[in-house]
């Protein structure tokens, strides 16, 4: 059963979601995630699931909310402009403490942008995205295998925390084919959902799912409850991977596609005798600040690499908290850097090691 198959990232996400027990999908076409939607349209009915193409992304996310209210495992997927439209619903889902999985296969922006891959929706994903004081758990795979594996985690964590989970990929990951071992199917929901609105039945009390707290005292209590939940997430479910970072003097920080490019650049730097490494956040929220800070305390300097003009770099700077320098290198608009370009940046930082204490980043001296 543990057979390796060749799959596109978008299809691996869809198949893994079905295997993780997802039986409801509501979505709207947008490139570069259409294969995911189409895979669900073909395959969900085979497991007595429901696929429905909605009138808009707004419609889709609200259908997700409705199905989530019944306790079902449900998801939607989209890309940049469509994810923007879903933000209202995502805020309501977070505010109603409902589990749901949202996939964003990022394309370029702002506006209509283009269909080429970027990582320019980091802020939107990692900082809440819609209105109000909430966060999503954000999972950032960097291979087709990890896309499949993280779907199981996404549904489990959404249920456990009663919070929407976003899987943040990009056009490269969505479109490329890689060998993948699909996880074994999982039956039923792991978590009992006593809160679900399935009809009052013989219960004395009817159930209400709402995000409305009209009294400030109650609203504050609820916001504090959410904040406590996010602290628990940070304690228990912060995930990252280190690559040759143990003894590294220069640490690249990158996720998803950018992390794979950094791995290649790190290997090239090591071949040249430069002690380079990589810290790859797997959860963008909660962000792995601790390993970054620990490395900064040991004197490592940092280079954040993103397919954007610089978003996650803010969180790296916050994690480093002035203990070391944080440089940034990015390409945007759908342009993808060559690992040799990243290597040049690493070499630049290496050359600044000696001599005066040069900063790797801007501002007039």
């Amino acid at each position: 059963m543990t057979q390796k198959v060749l799959m596109k990232g978008n299809e691996a996400i869809a198949e893994a979601a079905i295997r993780a027990g997802c039986r409801f999908f509501f979505g709207y076409p947008i490139t570069p995630q259409n294969e995911l939607l189409e895979y669900m349209a073909r395959n969900l009915p085979k497991v007595d699931g429901v696929f429905l193409q909605s009138e808009s992304e707004i419609g889709a996310i609200n259908m997700v909310m409705g199905a989530a209210c019944t306790g079902a495992r449900v998801m939607t997927s989209s890309s940049g402009p469509g994810i923007s439209l879903k933000q209202e619903g995502i805020s309501y889902i977070a505010g109603s403490e409902l589990p749901a999985v949202i996939v964003n296969i990022m394309r370029t922006g702002p506006g209509l942008g283009g269909i080429a891959p970027t990582q320019s929706d980091y802020y939107q994903a990692a900082k809440g995205g819609g209105h109000g004081d909430y966060r999503l758990m954000v999972l950032a795979p960097s291979s087709v295998q990890e896309m499949a594996d993280l779907m199981f985690l996404a549904f489990d964590k959404a249920d456990e925390y009663r919070n929407p989970v976003m899987v943040l990929g990009d056009g490269v990951l969505g479109q490329m084919m890689e060998p993948v071992i699909l996880p074994e199917p999982k039956e039923g929901n792991a978590v009992e959902k006593a809160w679900a609105t399935t009809g009052k039945g013989n219960n004395p009390e009817s159930k209400l799912i709402t995000s409305l707290y009209i009294k400030p005292e109650e609203a504050e209590k609820f916001c504090e409850h959410l904040a406590a939940k996010y602290r628990t997430m940070a304690e228990k479910d912060t995930r990252w991977e280190s690559y040759r970072a143990e003894d590294a003097e220069i640490i690249t920080v990158a996720y998803g596609t950018a992390a794979r490019l950094c791995m290649a650049a790190v290997d090239m730097a090591r071949d040249k005798g430069i002690r380079a490494g990589l810290i790859r956040p797997i959860t963008l929220f909660p962000f792995p600040s601790a390993p970054i800070y620990a490395a900064a305390e040991k004197g490592a300097r940092f280079l954040t690499v993103e397919l954007s003009t610089g978003q996650m770099v803010d969180d790296v700077r916050l994690a480093v908290n002035g203990k070391s320098t944080v440089g940034f290198y990015g390409r945007s608009g759908g342009m993808v850097p060559d690992p040799r370009d990243i290597l040049s940046q690493i070499e630049q930082i290496e050359s600044e090691k000696t001599g005066t204490t040069a900063a790797t980043e801007g501002g007039a001296a």
């Binding site: 409801f24 009138e55 707004i58 889709a60 909310m65 709402t210 409305l212």
Partner: protein
């Protein structure tokens, strides 16, 4: 022993509503409650509350409820019904919610023939936010955002939702009723009960528009408001069974 001839529906909570004097929401809530009782639907019901004055319907009707974002109740109800096709799912929406911000959701739920019931309360104004112009505000009617009265030149024309939905194949039942007189209340009750029955029988999307008074934001006494509804609203929004399925109980 006196015989009890009138009592609170079992599916309604024993509380006082927050609605203004002369507001029709209370009557319409009661009709929903009576229909739920008569068809024994309350234990299997999931209601979807809108944004607007009637967001607090869940404080009055004793069934499971979900509070949706503004205008999206038909999409939320779709998600619930697709996951639980044997349960009873209805939305209760005002005219700002349904006929302005929620036009896409209501049209497509109707076009799909989604097997849900929509109770649409049209009082030709935004109530909760304090009397602004609605898509259903009549030409000439003043509001806080049409202080000199709605003009077709600037604001366009009010939307007749039943007529619009009646162009679609999907709906099984579409009726417009009012509750400003006892006779109209009886007719409205019958329509709501029939709409619920349509869903129970799996006939697909059923829709009842209820014309409703908002004396507070219309700036009238409850009695004047009832008269205004009759004289001004009903001519533009005629009371009618637009579509009635054959053989419905």
């Amino acid at each position: 022993m006196a015989k009890i001839v009138f009592t609170r529906p079992k599916s309604m909570k024993d509380v006082v509503t927050h609605y203004c004097p002369g507001c029709h929401h209370g009557i319409i809530h009661r009709l929903v409650g009576e229909a739920l009782d008569e068809l024994e639907l309350a234990p299997k019901t999931i209601g979807v509350a809108p944004v607007g004055c009637s967001v607090f319907i869940y404080d009055y009707i004793d069934t499971d409820f979900i509070q949706a974002s503004h205008g999206r109740a038909p999409a939320v109800a779709t998600g619930v019904k697709r996951a639980l096709p044997d349960k009873f799912v209805f939305t209760y929406q005002g005219d700002g919610d349904l006929a302005a911000i929620g036009t896409a959701e209501i049209i497509h739920a109707a076009a799909r023939g989604e097997n849900i019931t929509v109770i649409f309360v049209n009082n030709a104004i935004y109530g909760m936010t304090g009397g602004q112009s609605a898509p259903t505000t009549l030409v000439g009617q003043s509001s806080t955002t049409t202080p000199k009265g709605r003009t077709s030149q600037n604001d366009g024309f009010p939307i007749q939702v039943c007529e619009m939905l009646n162009t679609l194949q999907g709906p099984s039942m579409i009726s417009r009723v009012a509750v400003q007189t006892p006779a109209q209340v009886i007719r409205a009750k019958k329509a709501i009960r029939r709409a619920f029955q349509c869903q129970v029988e799996g006939r697909g999307f059923s829709f009842v528009e209820v014309l409703s008074a908002c004396p507070t934001n219309w700036g009238m006494t409850p009695l004047d408001a009832g008269k205004w509804l009759e004289d001004e609203m009903i001519p533009y929004y005629p009371l009618k069974d637009f579509r009635v399925p054959e053989g419905v109980q």
